[in-house]
Symmetry: C2
Subunit: 362 residues, 2 copies
Amino acid sequence: MTSIVTMTPLEGPSSRTQVTRKDVARYAGVSTAVVSYVVNDGPKKVAPATEAKVREAIRLLGYRPNAAARALKLGSSKTIGLIIPDNSNPFFSLLAHAVEDAAAALGYALFMTNSDGNLAKEKRNLRSLAARQVDGVILSSVLLYPDLAELESADIPAVLLNHATDAAGFNSVGVDLAGGARIAVEHLISHGHTNIALAMGTNTGNDFDGRELGWRQALTDAGLAEGPIIRSYFTRDGGYEAGKKFLRTVNRPTAIFASSDMQAIGILRALSEGGVSVPEDVALIGFDGSAEAEYSIPSLTTVEQPTRAMAEVAVRALVGASSDTEPEQRIFPTRLLIRRSCGCSVSNGGDSTAVHSLSPLS
Amino acid sequence: MTSIVTMTPLEGPSSRTQVTRKDVARYAGVSTAVVSYVVNDGPKKVAPATEAKVREAIRLLGYRPNAAARALKLGSSKTIGLIIPDNSNPFFSLLAHAVEDAAAALGYALFMTNSDGNLAKEKRNLRSLAARQVDGVILSSVLLYPDLAELESADIPAVLLNHATDAAGFNSVGVDLAGGARIAVEHLISHGHTNIALAMGTNTGNDFDGRELGWRQALTDAGLAEGPIIRSYFTRDGGYEAGKKFLRTVNRPTAIFASSDMQAIGILRALSEGGVSVPEDVALIGFDGSAEAEYSIPSLTTVEQPTRAMAEVAVRALVGASSDTEPEQRIFPTRLLIRRSCGCSVSNGGDSTAVHSLSPLS
């Protein structure tokens, strides 16, 4: 079956690119279409024995399937780029994983990059992905108001993810930050707290962060004075610093709403080191719904963002069949996952997470 | 300066690919080389005003720089692929971030994919990256003994990362798992423990995992009997199950060495719910050195893997200048980060992490 063919001798890596699909097909005794199916994992099925023959030919001849050539021909490399601020933040790694799953479900590979909370790196990543001709980019910007001109000049389909403000001309997907903060603070009020602090981030335009607005609104609606606002980075270390500042506060509040789970984890550590018990001395609620929040001690009551649903909508808006409709802003409601840090007593073991309520759409 | 040029009318996205670099250059009144420098962010600098002119021309004409065409021409897209088992495991997200930084330092973009602990998905990702003509792949396999034939048939430069066994023909980078386990168990023995359990994973070929060998060796060397081995997934949930099993153990050990930080975090929760204090009732040491381990309560003593150094060596082995040497197996030593869960008393606040010792190279 396998016939010997005359080949250009292979003399090094550089000559390998000269081996074509046709050479592989001849060597394996199959059609070039079959080689294509094996290389692209479809669209048609290939019998295992035939696939083995083709793979052996690919290996022997040093053939490297050329996506670049295919991309030129097809005008598409079936790839989505994702830019997130920090993959080592569990919230973003969860979100990235959800985006990857949603992309895979539509036949797209995901190329993920970090911006490290750095605007210059975010722009560089955007240009790099556009230059590599990905089909589109999902941008979770480090900025509350991303540089839309930059996004426009990259001239690539884009969707803003984890984005709660209007972005003219672009699809955007986010959560109702204000609504989420409100149900968290209302829950703390229902526990009898009247002096409630806010642990807020420093790395966005804070004045307009919905979490701050929601915290303030809930206090105002209940006729309560505003507790102190403690600003720190959206990290464990930032939360730890915030917790230490909180311990030094005059007229110390009895409850804290933290605007990220990472901050809440750091606050827990600072309070524990300061001999302050959660929830007995101070109640605490986080924001994000990351896996780590479930495993802190005490387990963390938190406002959950629906990462999976957000990722699916973002991917479909970018490359789904119905993507040529008007740009749209999708805001998802959040829900409060009740565990122990707020002062509720939940049963041990099993599913110790109770869902409090859905916040209304803003 | 900007002269009006006659252009093929743009009538939709499909015609955009017809706009060339030459069109952009004419419209902006610059040479095509300058367009190239702007698009590729180098190698030569372009004056800000000129860059603005080029970017405006790119935007107006709807030009999309064609990486596919460049890749064909250059034979390289300056891109590395990374395959890891699970990006939402903090150890792997840390490792991925370190790889991305190391790649960026050498001018390479990183395209990251997850295998979800699934061998079929790992293979699919490998083929997809090879077909997209990345310059090389760094594979952190779900298997203790990766499918090297698969890696060979993908015909793409590859380095195995987080890999501690010999892989004929491939560069590999890993840690001294046995040595790391040994210093952890020896440390528990130095605290007076004589009955030490092992929490081990189930998702690799466990019989040959160095952590199990190191645990056994340390006990044997000290003349101690082996404690129970509790097998569970390398996740928080897996650790939680392991912790509950541990609580039901007859002749319950007074110390646990957990083979991942994630497992240790889950064990902490199970023990806390069972009213068992760490380290007072049971001492605990983890493995990995993830950020989460620093923030658990009590903070987790753990065997740290040098992720940054491992990532740098892996990237350099793949695309560095001296990459055409013989395939090499690099095994890094680990170190014990002493915190509270082992029973040591460390000072509050500041740098509460003490380094115990370096394990010898295996």
